[in-house]
Symmetry: C2
């Protein structure tokens, strides 16, 4: 079986430390956070600007990979759904997508608004949002 070897390009610095206290959605009280990048990828950040909307792609390292069906939002009254029909973090590949706005850029790190990822979450990629959607550009 093919697998891909995916190293982090950076890490989240956030006041959120516990999955149980993290908001389900960014608009449910997620705090600002820093994205701190590995020195080896810093040349890839040129062109990003304060005010840009970006998708931060993370590895949800405190979630579980052996889960295929869940109660959406952890609510048993909602019945069971396949993980690919939900945004629940537990899933075979622990990829998280977070749409955020850049509020500051410093050497080697970027400040963003409303990020619901936990402290020390590995970052895999950053992509701009163009024309208000996330189609591949």
């Amino acid at each position: 079986m093919t697998t891909f070897d995916v190293p982090p390009i950076g890490w989240v610095e956030s006041p959120l430390n516990e999955r149980s206290s993290a908001p389900h959605q960014a608009d449910e009280g997620a705090p600002g956070a820093w994205l701190v990048f590995a020195r080896s990828v810093l040349d890839g950040l040129q062109g990003l600007r304060e005010g840009d909307q970006v998708v931060v792609i993370t590895w949800l390292d405190r979630a579980q990979r052996d889960v295929l069906a869940v109660h959406p939002r952890g609510d048993p009254r909602r019945g069971v759904a396949g993980v690919f029909s939900t945004r629940w973090p537990d899933r075979p590949n622990l990829i998280g997508l977070h749409t955020v706005e850049i509020t500051a850029i410093e050497a080697g790190r970027i400040r963003v608004r409303d990020l619901e990822a936990l402290n020390n979450t590995p970052i895999l990629d950053v992509k701009p949002i163009l024309s208000g959607n996330i189609a591949e550009r």
Copy 2:
């Protein structure tokens, strides 16, 4: 250095075979395609329905990982930009995001509209789009 071991959950079946002929954007003539899933993850698909908008997360296996700066859209007149400020496929982690609509669901596979990924591109994850954005739910 930490790295994550990421196996595909499925593969794209598409008439697109050459990166040079693939559209840069889904709305520039991308064809319909099948998403064919590994048997081990099929329980994760329950709840997906025809008409749903989903983000397909792929591994852009014909792109290059040692690129940090590019000419956007391959156009040298556009100057150089860091890959994280573009949707260009070459980047340290070859993650692709594709927003598509589900047009049919069959046993083990899902038909989608307007997918610009190449034939046999590995699929890493599928997430629904809720309320028209891609925030983590």
